[in-house]
């Protein structure tokens, strides 16, 4: 079913409704930590591979302690993987300078940077998904709001999330209505597809107008207000500090190398 990908998105709310020490951390603390994580991971130079490995500890700990079904995160990851591959796939072609030798096999810079892109992709997407799964999409929006992210941006995000499901259902109904009336051809002709998309757009515009009316009826004037008190406590601050210190040390202190040296030191 086409809806699988989307109804699955709703499942993330079910996970977010769970309870674990990580669920109870303030959304803002989790948001900052994840942002710091992503910024550090992205800041590595383009050939970084080994330096990225220690960073896997963050998403893995979130998934394990937060009891997030790893299979779910993995499936979402696979869904987006083609985009990451597309971004990096040309590197091995353009960048042929050999920079590593493993035995007789030379490895070009292109392959190294491609692998680096994939690693970063897995790290950033996994931790972002873990953030939403532990916090809930709405609380993430709420945290963004508290950080003074401009409200039109947050309103867009919230509406996107709210109406994604309605839109999916609507398009599904249309696809089904087409399917029952097209007996032989299972594939959709381009013309049909265009008119389907066109109708969907028109319906969406109509709906947007109706939603806007409903909002005006209840005094909407450009700001979305949400009633929720967030309280930051000591454990939230400790959570942020520990992780940020770890990220910085992973970044500037080559952990795999030092570990290697240590091992070599013990077993000369």
């Amino acid at each position: 079913m086409t809806s699988q990908g989307f109804s699955d998105v709703g499942y993330i709310d079910t996970i977010a409704a769970g309870d674990s020490p990580l669920h109870r951390i303030d959304p803002r603390a989790k948001l900052i930590t994840t942002a710091a994580f992503i910024a550090t991971v992205v800041s590595f130079n383009k050939y970084a591979v080994l330096g990225l490995v220690p960073f896997f500890s963050f998403p893995i700990i979130l998934i394990l302690l937060g009891r997030i079904p790893a299979g779910y995160i993995l499936r979402k990851l696979l869904l987006i993987l083609p985009f990451a591959i597309l971004v990096g796939i040309f590197n091995p072609i353009f960048d042929r300078a050999i920079i590593y030798h493993i035995g007789p096999v030379g490895i070009s810079g292109g392959w190294i940077s491609f692998i680096s892109i994939l690693l970063r992709f897995v790290l950033t997407v996994t931790s972002a998904l873990a953030l939403v799964a532990l916090t809930g999409f709405n609380s993430v929006c709420l945290a963004l709001e508290r950080f003074k992210v401009p409200s039109p941006f947050i309103v867009q995000l919230m509406f996107l999330y709210r109406y994604m499901f309605v839109l999916t259902e609507e398009s599904e109904r249309m696809v089904r209505a087409r399917a029952v009336r097209s007996f032989s051809g299972r594939t959709m002709h381009f013309k049909t597809f265009v008119s389907l998309i066109g109708h969907l757009l028109l319906r969406t515009l109509d709906r947007a107008e109706r939603v806007y009316r409903a909002m005006c009826c209840r005094g909407f004037n450009g700001d979305i207000r949400i009633l929720r008190s967030l309280r930051i406590s000591l454990k939230d601050i400790v959570f942020v500090i520990i992780w940020v210190v770890l990220f910085i040390s992973f970044r500037f202190w080559d952990a795999p190398l030092k570990l290697g040296e240590l091992v070599m030191g013990i077993f000369p």
Partner: protein, 254 residues
Amino acid sequence: MSHHIVEANDLHYTYPEGTVGLSGVSFRITHGESVAIVGENGAGKSTLLLHLNGFLSAAKGEVRVGGYPLNSKNLDTVRRAVGMVFQNPDDQLFMATVFDDVAFGPLNRGLAGAEVEERVLQALDTVGAAHLKKRPPYKLSQGEKRSVAIATVLAMSPDILVMDEPTSSLDPMSRTRLIKLLKTFRHTKIIATHDLDMAMDLCERTIVLHRGKITADGPTLRLFQDEALLHSSSLEKPLRMQECPKRSEDIHGE
């Protein structure tokens, strides 16, 4: 000012593409009245409702709420007084959780946190949806969505409730529950509907619309007994006023 009186004086409205929505609609609905607006598809019911809240403005004629003409200056005041329950609850429930949705109106009114919370819980309690407060609206059943949509309006404590097809796409039990709930409200009620049985239950007065004009305005029971009137307005008697067919042949006309 008393917000409870709704008046329409000779409303005319034509849609931009040329469809006539209303042509000369006048009525006066007073405090505490419960009025059904019935008519076939395209008779102008929804068009009329959109006028009561200032979303459409008549080409000719005026709407007065609480004695004052509805214009851009007092639009906000009128929208405070008139609570509108739309036909499709998915249009009305746009926030991420039921609680946030019901709180949306009161928060926009600038009420303080504690009062907002109290109002939200009370409104949800009234419609029997208190247990849904943390749920996202897209996961609710149609009946639950409808109840919550009504709660969003109740939380703003309007004087007048305007509803577009409140019983559409509800299962029989949810429909009965909704009717029972609406019966308990003391607001002035204006209900556009095809559900004439509900109109009999809830509204002592009915306005019949046909092609943008009022063809009858009077006591519900009397109008619904007038077969000629109903027929000319493309309506049928409420089910409970129709005689039960005794044999299946009566239905199939053999």
